[in-house]
Structure formats: C-alpha cells, structure tokens
Point group: C2
Chain length 150, copies 2
C-alpha cells in the first residue's frame, strides 16, 4: 500500500500559509525548525562540517547512528537529541532505521524533504561561523558605548 496518498497532500496544499500570522501553522513550524539542534542534526546528516573531508558541501545525505550523532553534536543531551530526532522523523524530514543486530543498530538519514530543508538551513550555520568575528566586534562596540553613557 502507498504510505502517502496524493489526496492527503493535496488536502493541505491548498492553503496559503503566512508565518507572519500568529494562528498560522507555519508559524509553529517556523518555530520548530528555528532550533539550534535541528540545524546541527541536519548539518550532520547532510554531511556538512567535513567529518569526511571532501564530502563537505556536496549535499550528499549521510546515514548516521545515534551514538555518532551524539558525539558529533558536542554537548547535546540524550533527551534533546532523541526529542529532536523524533520530531524530525514525525515531520518526515528523516527516516529512522532499526537493524536487529545485537546490540541493536539504529541509523538516521535525511529524506528528500529533509535534504531540501538542509540546503537552506546549512546557510544559517555557515553564516554564524563566517560572521562570528564581525558580530563580536559589533558587540564590543555596542557594549563599550553603553558603558560610556550613564
């Protein structure tokens, strides 16, 4: 059986969503995907960040195990990682695959939908890394100016 009918998709596709409106579901979705851990999980699974030198920036999706992810995303708690992964799975951005080895092996991999979000979100992470210096400079100036008043 087909897991997803075209009819189902069409049922939702009609509405024109506008995240500027408080009640619009896309506002909530925006809030969900505007998340540090979402960005990092997508970046990891999209093989951003050059764990495998030479693959960075190819946009080629990569299957990763739970433990791999938790190591890659330094400082993430199991709770947040699991929570983020579940949410992304529910939204159809990644697939979770369980292989009944002993012990069990679980891998996560981006779907096409997830990959499309990755393409846009990777820019955020890169922007942050690329413009960190300039932002820090602005902060110093802002803070010193504030101190000189009073």
């Amino acid at each position: 059986m087909p897991t997803m009918t075209a009819a189902q998709k069409r049922a939702h596709a009609k509405a024109d969503y506008d995240a500027f409106l408080a009640e619009c579901p896309s506002r909530k979705l925006l809030d969900r995907i505007s998340d540090k851990w979402v960005a990092l999980v997508l970046a990891a699974l999209g093989s951003d960040g050059a764990t495998h030198p030479g693959r960075d920036g190819t946009g080629e999706p990569r299957a990763m195990r739970y433990s791999e992810l938790s190591r890659r995303l330094a400082g993430v708690s199991q709770k947040m990682l699991t929570q983020t992964l579940r949410s992304l799975e529910r939204d159809g951005l990644l697939v979770r695959t369980v292989t009944p080895t002993v012990p069990v092996t679980v891998t996560y991999e981006l779907t096409d939908l997830g990959l499309s979000l990755h393409q846009v979100i990777r820019g955020i992470k890169r922007w942050a890394e690329a413009n960190m210096g300039e932002v820090l400079s602005h902060r110093e100036e802002y803070d010193s100016r504030a101190a000189n008043e009073t």
Copy 2:
C-alpha cells in the same frame, strides 16, 4: 574617530569557528539567530512577505517603525520584540534611529550584515510556508501509525 578599527575585526577573524563544538561562540550565535522572532523581524525589514506588493523578494531593505513591526509580527509581545531588536542591534544586524519628533519616532533598518543574514534566513520562512502541507501529511501518517500499535 572610526567607530570600528580594522584591527578589532582581524582580532576575531582569525579563529575558525565550528558550531558543532559546544564551547564555540558560533554555537551560541547559531542559537540566537535560530529564533522565530529573529526570522520574522529580518523577513519584515527585508521587505519579505509583500506588505508592499511588488517589493517582495527584491531583498531591498526597508525602514520600519516599532509599531509597524509589532503589527506585522502578529502576536509578538513588546518584550520579545524589543528584546529581539536590541539583540539584533547589538550584533550589528540592524540600526536603530531615533527622530526627536513629538511623540518620538524610532525606525529600524537592516545593515548590510543584517541583509546578508536575511538572505539566508528568508529561505527558512519560505520553506516552512511552502512545505507546511507535506509536513502535516507526514505527521498524520506518523500519528496514525503510532495509534495502530499498542
């Protein structure tokens, strides 16, 4: 006097930031800009969302007043709006201009740096609006599958 010396910028520009590392400042920056209100403020000031039909998508920055912004971002509290604006100002993403009329007029406008972030963040908002339907479909399927177990 120059408000920002090139030396200051260079002092920070050396480091290679990696948001995958917990201690890296870029991780915090990523967290800041991965924010619903940040995305919406940038979208508004970047004249996304077609308040002025025909200007949408031009990437042409737009100066907006505080009250304009609060109306545009439906449901935002003064606290969050002010807080977001201050943060963006401090980071050099926008400039705040006070005109001493009666009553006072305050406008906000993106800087070049802010505009550059807008270019990448606008994609997030658009993605959310464009793929809302598909995400909803996936959720329905996920939830119904979960219900059928047990």
